[in-house]
């Protein structure tokens, strides 16, 4: 029934849009309640009362909040991201290269983490109750429970300090050759991959187990199907929706992990940019970086929901 699929999808996308507006309002509100005068801060030594007043008018700082919000939103949508307070450079220029770095990091992590996690999750469900499954479960609980910086510091301790295989910091400027790149990327990627894999393994295993506990899986067993066949032909097609959902949700954890990892390894990505901006109270930069994060997060979650919707076989 084409119409109902289309209408469900449209509804979901509209909800996403509405959420984006609410979220941007919250970000704007949170960053605008700043004690202290922005104009004073910017003028620094030259902050005479007239100068401050003039700058405030020039920056439209005395307009009502909703007007400022609207102007900011419009600016974002049309590509005008404003100017950083700290170093007067246009934000778009600051962000551009670093956003690319962060995406590279996330991309490489996903490339490694997803296949490994899916395999482990599915096999753990297939051999439910065996020692293999128990080991996987305990390890994943362990990794999920600990903070990302613990995984990172442990990795540094092991590979950089004791074994001396990898450098502790990553200088991702002019990376020559594959070997160099591997050494630089290895630990940040490993840390991130560990964290999101653990989530994915748990959720994948749960999805497959749920599909295995159904009457139709029992029916397949009663027809003489081997366990492998029951999992691959009967459980997986039905668990696919929840599994993709799990992958999308786990990838959204990258957004949190990347903040820690870029800080520890001094990786020049957009998360580190934002953390530094917080230290210098550089409002426009914080706002823009926050919006980028929220947008990516929202895209991932909406995609996950849409896939869950579409994978319902009753819609055929």
């Amino acid at each position: 029934m084409q119409r109902s699929i289309a209408s469900l999808l449209t509804a979901r996308l509209l909800v996403a849009l509405l959420t984006l507006v609410i979220v941007s309002f919250v970000v704007f509100a949170a960053t605008s309640i700043l004690p202290g005068d922005v104009a004073e801060v910017l003028l620094g030594q030259a902050a005479t009362p007239e100068a401050v007043k003039g700058l405030r008018t020039a920056m439209h700082l005395d307009d009502p909040a909703l007007v400022r919000f609207g102007r900011w939103l419009f600016g974002l949508a049309s590509g005008d991201l404003g100017v950083s307070y700290a170093n007067r450079m246009p934000i778009a220029q600051l962000i551009g290269g670093r956003l690319l770095n962060s995406l590279k990091l996330a991309g490489v992590t996903a490339l490694f983490a997803v296949p490994v996690a899916l395999t482990l999750g599915i096999t753990a469900a297939m051999w439910r109750g065996t020692w293999y499954d128990r080991v996987v479960s305990v390890l994943t609980i362990g990794v999920i429970s600990v903070p990302e910086f613990m995984v990172a510091t442990s990795a540094v301790l092991l590979f950089a300090v004791h074994l001396k295989w990898l450098p502790a910091l990553s200088i991702a400027r002019d990376v020559q050759g594959l070997g160099e790149m591997l050494r630089v990327y290895a630990m940040p990627v490993m840390t991130l991959a560990f964290v999101i894999s653990a989530q994915m393994i748990r959720m994948t295993r749960a999805a497959v187990v749920e599909a295995l506990d159904t009457p139709y899986a029992e029916m397949a067993t009663l027809k003489g199907a081997s366990r492998t066949r029951v999992v691959l032909r009967h459980a997986l097609p039905n668990a696919l929706g929840p599994i993709v959902n799990a992958v999308a949700l786990s990838l959204s954890y990258l957004l949190g992990g990347v903040i820690i990892v870029e800080t520890i390894f001094n990786y020049p990505g957009v998360a580190k940019l934002m953390v530094d901006a917080v230290a210098t109270r550089d409002l426009p930069l914080i706002q823009t970086c926050a919006m980028i994060f929220c947008l990516v997060y929202l895209i991932l979650i909406t995609t996950a929901d849409i896939i869950a919707l579409l994978s319902n076989p009753r819609l055929r």
Partner: protein, 551 residues
Amino acid sequence: MTAPLVEIRDLKVDATTDAGRRIEIIKGVSFDVAEGEIVALIGESGSGKTTIALTLLGYARAGARISGGEVWLAGKNMAARSERERAVERGARVAYVPQSAAAAFNPAHTIMDQVIEVTRIHKLMPPEAARAKAIELFRALSLPAPPLIGDRYPHQVSGGQLQRLSAAMALIGDPKLVIFDEPTTALDVTTQIEVLRAFKAAMRQAGAAGVYVSHDLAVVAQIADRIVVLKDGRVQEIGDTRQILDAPKHPYTRELLDAFRPRARAAAAASARAAPVLAVESLSAGYGPPRADGTPSILIVKDVSFVIEPGRNLGVIGESGCGKSTLARAVAGLIRASGRMLLDGKPLAQHAAERSMQDLREIQMVFQSADTALNPAKSIRDILARPLEFYFALRGAALEARVDRLLDMIRLPRGLKHRRPTELSGGQKQRVNLARALAAEPKLILCDEITSALDSVVAAAIIELLKELQSELSLSYLFISHDLNTVRAICDEVAVMYAGEKVEQTTPEQVGAPGGHPYARLLMSSVPRLDPDWLDTLERDPALVEAFSKR
């Protein structure tokens, strides 16, 4: 003498409870099945019939395992073989027809893929031959559009059709033994007939033996050659079908037969008072926003009128989807309805939120599933005490005394007060349900399929209780059910519903009589009788079947 196909010797199965204790659920069962013979396993829930049937496949559900005895199938002991060896037999030598075909089909694959899967697993024949054979089976099972139905997905096909498709799925491997696990329990009586006929014909043609699990004696009488009666994991009696039905030897078998034919109610005298307890005029109920005339846009109940006099009972019967439960909910005020209702001659507001405390008290409702009708976090005493506190502001000793009296009224020991609902049996829970309704001292009790989820013996006891309470307390009942026998036992008048309308209202003996509404006639003729020849000699008017049954 040829050896029997199936020999079960002293089978024992135990299970692990939630707490970790092992208890024996099958306690030494033995019986045989000859080639081509159909044997029925009869018993109430908890008797172990499904568990025994599954052991023939070498299978036990989670938590259970075969702990002793032998299960010989064509010379192989399924109880002792490894999982892989068992898998070789499943589907090829012994096949399973599930209780709920709708759940047993994988929603992600087409029907044909699943029906011929057995041939793929056991490499019995190439796919084209399998497909052709499947279509032949579809034809033999009287399914519509045999060449095309396999291309559909399970959710696109009706329940009765799915049940027959699962039989095709079982027969495609040419098994020597077919296990039927209560396959018609979830179907309406009018659909059940077609499915039973199809099964019988297919089994005759294939010459396979069968084990038919059920709790319904009348259904089993139509299809089984011999019957094994089970209770609490033990065999009570084994015999030919006719012998069991005409001359049962074991007292438990006699109990089962008695429960099948409950005593009819002595007609209650019409009361001297004029005003009926409940008068309903043109009641329409449903969902969705109201139209201009106040009726909801999606109607489930259409323009129903009836009257219940004090001390008398009205039964409402019909198949699933006819609107009888919705009718009860509309009378209770749980959903929006249009039309007029008079309680004791005074107008009754449609929605419960608008009714006075008095009106709410005088109409009480008892639900079908006692599991969801009693709060599992409360003790029995608390459940019964609340209406007493709420309606009558009883406290302290007076409250406790009244709770005790209620327990006496429903014939339960007073010590049960401190238990939780999860510790009670189905019949006990339903009695507590009733007591909660009685606590409000109502005039009318709406019984919504209250015995449908109970075993026949327990249900019969509940009906007796209802009758006693009625004479003690001058109550009236509106009794909703799909089972005419139960309704006959307790009601003075019966209304038949179809597609939201009341099509007929007469005395219980007159329902389905030749002069009445065609649907009522079809319904009554579809109810199985305790006569083995009933199905074979049944003739239903094809025009009626076409018009009314959902095949």
